[in-house]
Subunit: 126 residues, 2 copies
């Protein structure tokens, strides 16, 4: 993927979108190795900035993301992973990490716009 523009940390922004419904599920980061592993396996791999390691989505939860398509934006510093998924992509129990909206009329308060689809305590054995 030599044509991609990685940032100073060797990362590129990756938006994960449900290929069927079009919902944005999460945003994560990929380095060259994560992209290569994703291409080789057909399963989404990312770079965890907090853990500083390659992260195969679903290794713990079982909610692996099968990558249907990789899209690249105009300036080549961002990708979309179009994926097929089962239930529960977000680690706190929602299908999408974007389960809240900002209530702009009351400052920075947020409102829930989705309901959980699984119990993360069960999945992650906290």
């Amino acid at each position: 993927m030599e044509k991609l523009k990685f940032d100073a940390n060797g990362l590129i922004t990756a938006v994960v979108q449900d290929d069927a419904g079009g919902g944005v599920l999460m945003v994560a980061w990929m380095n060259a190795k994560a992209i290569r592993l994703t291409q080789e396996t057909g399963e989404a791999h990312f770079w965890s900035r907090s853990r500083e390691e390659i992260w195969r989505k679903g290794s713990t939860s079982g909610n692996v993301m099968k990558v249907v398509k990789l899209l690249v934006d105009c300036d080549q510093d961002c990708m979309i992973l179009k994926v097929t998924v089962d239930a529960g992509q977000c680690h706190v129990g929602y299908q999408s990490c974007f389960y809240r909206k900002v209530l702009t009329d009351v400052g920075d308060k947020m409102a829930f716009i989705s309901k959980p689809v699984y119990d993360p305590d069960e999945v992650y054995k906290k």
Copy 2:
């Protein structure tokens, strides 16, 4: 927006999604001021990392983005702007910046998956 986690440069990733069709149009960056201006005006404002200035999308092209909803992700370091748009959001003439896909079976080659919707030379008077 005190609850948001800005990065070391005071920025947060912003995914722009067509509220009607669900297509991801672009990914950009916002600082606190860009978010405030977006909330106050209802039009998408970003921080341009290359020009180092606030950027009202559509000031030149006329393709302003009306923000319907602001979503926040689980760890609060990313937002989705659900917007209503007219034709031609990408500066090179496409409706979405993601107009190419990676042909994984032939390395890093890309294929066009969309057709231009306007002539950027006309709009930007290059």
